[in-house]
Amino acid sequence: MTAVPISPRVQQTPIRAAPPLLELAHVSKAFPARRRLGHRRAMVRAVDDVSLSIGPGECVGLIGESGCGKSTLGRLSLRLIEPTSGAVRFGGADLSSLNPDELAALRPRMQIVFQDPCSSLNPRKTTEQIIGLPLAVHAHLPRTQRRDRVIEALDRVGLGPDALHRYPHQFSGGQRQRIGIARALITQPALVVCDEPVSALDVSVQAQILALLKQLRREFGLAYLFISHDIAVVAYLAERIAVMYLGGIVESGPARELIAAPRHPYTQALLAAVPRLHAAPATPLAGDPPSPLAPPSGCAFHTRCPVAMPICRSVRPQTVTDATGYEIACHLHNPSPA
């Protein structure tokens, strides 16, 4: 498919100018499934051997459909949950080897914005308490100094100081998401994991929050891991995009290139399925995504793939990386299948 030499990613990792801020190396996470009477307890491999890195100030978009493991990956990146295997490194430090004090010292540098601003803000606390809490925990600032910082953070996300003493229910969805963003930014993080931050919002409000996230990133040199099922939203913000299907990354590369010329059949189908304002709808992909409880053999996508070959049913494709760092896990793009 391509003229540049291709080698398996295990042998050669792309050379980057700056060391990555966040690095996930062969990370897997399995959850025990609900036990059914008379059955052995099954394990769901929510994330299966995923490697991903984010440079300082870089925005990496993670797209995939529900149940593909993208939120689990976001939580693993911050060690909110422990990986079953593999390593997560932040600024060079292996998160799972850190003791609680060392981890606590890193926490202000890595923050998260959740999808549902309604359930991720404590309904019984005022805005001042919600946004100021990270400062009290991490910076041990006295209350008066905290208030100044909170007012500053509110101003950055477009809310006035009159918001200080109000409770989450007194705000609209968009305003609540602004509070969630202010809370994430107040500790001056280097990395913010944005887990579907605009999915619960109306289009006009979504555009406001996206523009805000873009502006904040420019201002503070933030790195984002931006997780969303909405490809257009991800393409607006991300420099690089990784596509997940059933726990694994099937393709990742520069956003512009991946959107304009997707190589993996799943990415192609996903992009074709997005409704467009000025183009006729394409023929849809057949079938539902398989259950992560019983993933298909070989390539996880072969049950729905329009161009599946016999090898796809039996052999799991290796991730290959070309000289530009573009990664793909598909037998069509692997010259020497295992």
Binding site: V205, Q206, Q208, I259, A269, V274, L277, D288, P289
Partner: protein
């Protein structure tokens, strides 16, 4: 051509502790035979309330209208609902009865409308129509045993039970993944082509309406602000709100194009501005906007804007 469904000056108000709150105001809509009308708006714009009121499904609301007509005659929702006009709801998991098998729920609809023949065979045929694999076995499935896309298909099967002339699909794909959304929209297009059925597609997503609808009506704050042929509304919008919505939409064709969000937010129901309801957020605000606006006829449609003719 006589419209299939005509709604004239519909006003819907909901009782709240603070008194009656205006949800829908002065809505005029026509749905013609065989066409697909897209009703687009953000949450609280009144798009669902308009059609629930039309079908007589808002018993607690105060509804006023200059008339709702079905094929030129006064509409009796109780006689037509489920028979000539069918409705599918956004969340199939709550719309379907969790305690009854899918087959029972389809046969129940057939029985309620005195449909003759072998109901079980008809139910199987309906499930096959909507693309559910292995329909004879799926009859015995409970809603929770089906995936989101399959549940939406099952609900469409129930809606199709009496071969309706008009299907009102309220956010049929909002809870679905993008590849499954494409399947359900494809199914609706196929059914429409095969049956010559009219479709009202209620959606918050302009792009969903773009690929599927002949005409689009855009709603804001309980009112229709613009109507017209889909292609015209999407390329040369006549109302500043439609323009704002289009500019808020991140596009895959030009991912890095800057978004130009509409400033401010939708006012709460009951606290609508006295003049043009979009005026406080409008970049082209002039003195005339302080007065309430009516839908003005423009080339290829209508717009509720005092500057609609000028643009």
């Amino acid at each position: 051509m006589t419209p299939l469904l005509s709604i004239r000056a519909l006003r819907v108000r909901f009782p709240t502790p603070a008194g009656l709150v205006d949800a829908v105001n002065a809505v005029d809509l026509d749905v013609f035979p065989g066409e697909c009308l897209g009703v687009v708006g953000e949450s609280g714009s009144g798009k669902s309330a308009t059609f629930l009121a039309t079908l007589g499904l808002l018993p607690s609301a105060t509804i006023r209208t200059d008339g709702i007509f079905w094929k030129g005659r006064g509409l009796d929702p109780d006689a037509l609902r489920g028979r000539e006009i069918a409705l599918t709801l956004q969340n199939a998991l709550t719309a379907l009865n969790p305690a009854l098998r899918i087959g029972t729920q389809i046969e129940e609809t057939l029985a309620a409308h005195d449909q003759g023949g072998n109901r079980r065979d008809r139910a199987i045929a309906l499930l096959r129509r909507v693309g559910i694999p292995d329909p004879a076995r799926r009859l015995y499935a409970y809603p929770h045993e089906l995936s989101g896309g399959m549940r939406q298909r099952a609900m469409i099967a129930i809606a199709l039970a009496c071969a309706p002339h008009l299907l009102i699909a309220d956010e049929p794909t909002t809870a679905l993944d993008v590849t499954v959304q494409a399947q359900v929209l494809d199914l609706l297009r196929t059914l429409r082509a095969e049956q010559g059925m009219s479709l009202v597609l209620i959606t918050h997503n302009l792009a969903v309406a773009a690929g599927n609808c002949d005409r689009i009506a855009v709603m804001y704050a309980g009112e229709i602000v613009e109507t017209g042929p889909a292609a015209r509304v999407l390329t040369t919008p006549r109302h500043p709100y439609t323009t704002g919505l289009l500019r808020s939409h991140p596009s895959l064709d030009d991912p890095e194009a800057p978004l130009l969000p509409i400033p401010g937010r939708i006012p709460d129901p009951g606290a609508w501005p006295s003049g043009c309801r979009f005026a406080p957020r409008c970049s082209r605000h002039v003195a005339a906007c302080e007065a309430p606006q009516t839908l003005r006829v423009v080339p290829d449609g209508a717009a509720r804007c005092c500057q609609a003719g000028i643009a």
